[in-house]
């Protein structure tokens, strides 16, 4: 049987308060007030599409054997790299075998659902694909998109075996319906009138595709238990359900009020939220919209109760911090260029040779364990740090990314450059052994104390703006 084997999600901790954004623009666009309710997920300065995808992947793979992943795909229309495979960076961070396939999908909002369809079809040939979808779109300050959108990532492990939701079928329609567009190299998209998009797009293209899907699968509209329409505009999902003959209670929460529209990741994110609560026998209809429409029909199986617990959408939603500093949002997203001071000018050009040689240490946080003494250390070195036996060449790989750690010492540094001062860092000690000096992230002053439990997260270390190269590493984050 083929289908969804596991699901995962990641939502950044910061939640930008929409009322603050609307108020900032009220002098020019008072109408934005009507959209200024609730909150939207906002990425930290050290998060991007790749780092969020890594977290969603980790969530998805909780309690599962990572060697069952044959390929990894990353769908996004806001990837950090146009030519340095983004899925490939995620593969390194997950410490997957080099014999893992990887590919990026982009170009439009259907990238997420299209990647799922391709993976679901490839599953029957025996391939398990970890389908990731991740988005941090930039919008012009004062635009509706700025208020409506959110940053998040979703993950689906697709393959064969005992899926938690079996693949019944899919249908795809492709039409060059340009409700909005963004040319390569442009920062912001350009959209047309929403009334036209609703009438000619959502109500015709989506409904047409849904009807064809149901007809070919032999499943009646009334039998759909969960309808996933990743459009956060009020009334669109309900209107589609009504016109398609799907029960109103099947319409799943679009997460518009507390996350925002996460673009090509949204359908995957909503599917993850749905699977958290779905029961065996439930039929799920997933829709993707963007220059056409993808429709995927899934049926939940008994295996869903056997899936090891994961955070999922609800877990990440619970880990939240309201953000009322709109300037901080603008600065983190490169929408204003604040004075950063001379310390920010330091050039940390990355030699590609050293990154490649050390990619397991740097991207996967793999340390070393001495096979002679059992000493665990980071990073792995030729000569062990053990004071009683400095054996040479005896260390084996010892992954540390999934280990819990505790703070041994720390400081909050106001002097060193940080995009979000002060810079928190300190010495952490891993459960089971091994310690390292680590940057902390997602901290509040109150959370930091000696003994605090921390987990490692994959984050941006710094960006070489001169050459456009993102350096990643792992940071310690308080366990929420």
């Amino acid at each position: 049987m083929t289908g969804i084997l596991a699901f995962g999600a990641y939502i950044p901790r910061l939640r930008l308060q929409r009322s603050v954004v609307a108020a900032a623009h009220a002098w020019f666009s008072p109408a934005l007030r009507s959209l200024g309710k609730g909150e939207r997920a906002m990425a930290n300065w050290d998060e991007d599409v790749v780092t969020m995808a890594v977290e969603a992947a980790r969530d998805c793979l909780t309690g599962l054997d990572r060697s069952t992943v044959h390929a990894i795909s990353l769908a996004s229309i806001s990837p950090p790299n146009a030519d340095r495979q983004n899925a490939g960076i995620v593969k390194e961070a997950l410490n997957l075998s080099d014999d893992t396939g990887s590919f990026d999908l982009s170009g439009g909002l259907r990238a997420g659902t299209s990647s799922l369809i391709q993976a679901l079809k490839a599953a029957s040939a025996g391939q398990n694909t970890l389908c990731l979808a991740s988005e941090i779109r930039k919008f012009r300050p004062g635009s509706e998109g700025e208020l409506n959108s959110g940053a998040a990532a979703g993950a689906m492990l697709v393959g064969s075996g005992e899926p938690i939701a079996r693949f019944v079928g899919s249908h795809s329609v492709s039409v060059d319906f340009v409700d909005h567009f963004r040319a390569t190299g442009e920062d912001f998209d350009y959209g047309w009138e929403s009334r036209w998009i609703r009438d000619e797009g959502y109500n015709k293209i989506i409904i047409g595709a849904i009807k064809k899907m149901l007809a070919s699968s032999g499943v009646a509209a009334a039998e759909i238990n969960h309808l996933i329409i990743p459009v956060t505009l009020r009334g669109v999902a309900d209107g589609i359900a009504k016109k398609a003959g799907i029960a109103p209670e099947a319409v799943r929460d679009t997460l518009g009020s507390n996350v925002g529209d996460t673009g090509s990741a949204h359908a995957t994110l909503m599917l993850a939220a749905t699977l958290e609560k779905a029961a065996p026998g439930d039929r799920i209809l997933v829709v993707g919209f963007g220059q056409g429409c993808d429709v995927i029909l899934l049926e939940v199986t008994d295996a869903i109760s056997k899936l090891p617990a994961r955070r999922g959408v609800s877990g990440w939603l619970a880990r939240s911090k309201p953000e009322s500093n709109y300037l901080k949002y603008l600065s983190f997203n490169g929408l204003i260029d604040i004075e950063k001071g001379m310390r920010a000018e330091a050039d940390f050009k990355q030699p590609m040779t050293t990154l490649y040689r050390n990619r397991k240490s740097v991207l996967a946080l793999v340390g070393g364990r001495c096979t002679k003494t059992g000493t665990i250390q980071f990073p792995k070195t030729d000569i062990s740090v053990n004071p009683n036996d400095r054996a040479i060449g005896t260390q084996e790989d010892y992954p540390l990314a999934e280990k819990v750690a505790r703070i041994m010492t720390y400081t909050a540094d106001n002097l060193t450059y940080s995009p979000d001062p002060p810079a928190y860092y300190g010495m952490i000690e891993f459960e089971g052994g091994g310690r390292m000096m680590a940057e902390f992230s997602d901290v509040d002053a109150e959370a930091v104390e000696v003994g605090r439990e921390m987990r490692m997260m994959f984050r941006i270390k710094n960006i070489d703006e001169r050459r456009g190269f993102t350096k990643y590493f792992w940071k310690a984050v308080p366990v929420a």
């Binding site: 000493t375 070195t381 053990n386 106001n414 002097l415 010495m427 270390k461 350096k471």
Partner: protein
Amino acid sequence: MAKGIRDKVAILGMGCAKFGERWDADADNLMVEAYEEAIADAGIETSQIDAAWLSVAFDAMNIGPSGIPLATALRLANVGVTKVENYCASGTDAFRGAVYAVASGAADIALALGVEKLKDTGYGGLPVRSRGTMFDMVGVVGSAPGNFAQLASAYRTHHGVGAADLKRAMAHVSVKSHANGSKNPKAHLRNVIDIETAINAPMIAEPLGLFDCCGVSDGAACAIVTTPEIAKALGKTDLVTVKALQMATSNGWEAQGSGWNGSYSTPPASQRRAPMTRRASPTRASSSV
């Protein structure tokens, strides 16, 4: 078994530039300022210097690699000049080189000079620079205050000291240093401060406030060393001789092993005694040089 260097090396002359924000001076001006005083104190000619050690802790904002800048600034007699770079121990390390050269019998008179021109950095504190390709990928680019500040949280946890008590205890150090500086005409900072000023100063890296951190200065200092016999032959009396000199470089055990509790700066140097001398206590490690 090493016999140690006790009483094998004597100070022939010492010199020191005026420390401070020396907008008026380049590194070579500072070197000459310190050297002028030292060579006059020694009462010798430049041509009598057999070997030299140059120390610079932060080359990012200074005179560049190699010993050439010292040889050029002082117009040494084309003798060997070793450039030493070992962070804050650079000066001690340069002195060590000069002292060992004389103690070994390889040189009659040797010179050690340290210079720093940090005020060309353009901002307060130490210049941000690479610490090597591996560190740049996995290390924390913290400030110097931030790195040392971490001792505080581990210390108070280990010894059960409250944060406010520790802050007050630390403040005494700066009050003492400022008092000393006020008596030294060559000091950069010559103002006297009180405990409350130190405690309430702006926070640099928790819990270190402004006065808990070193200022950053331009300056230079120079030592000319020789054997006690040569010093006496040159008319020196009441000699200051080197009894023992030790240095220790961490092998990474604190940050990578599990033995360090994060609450102290280990002075293993103090535990490495020169043979046939009394064991120096940890608190007197710095005075054994």
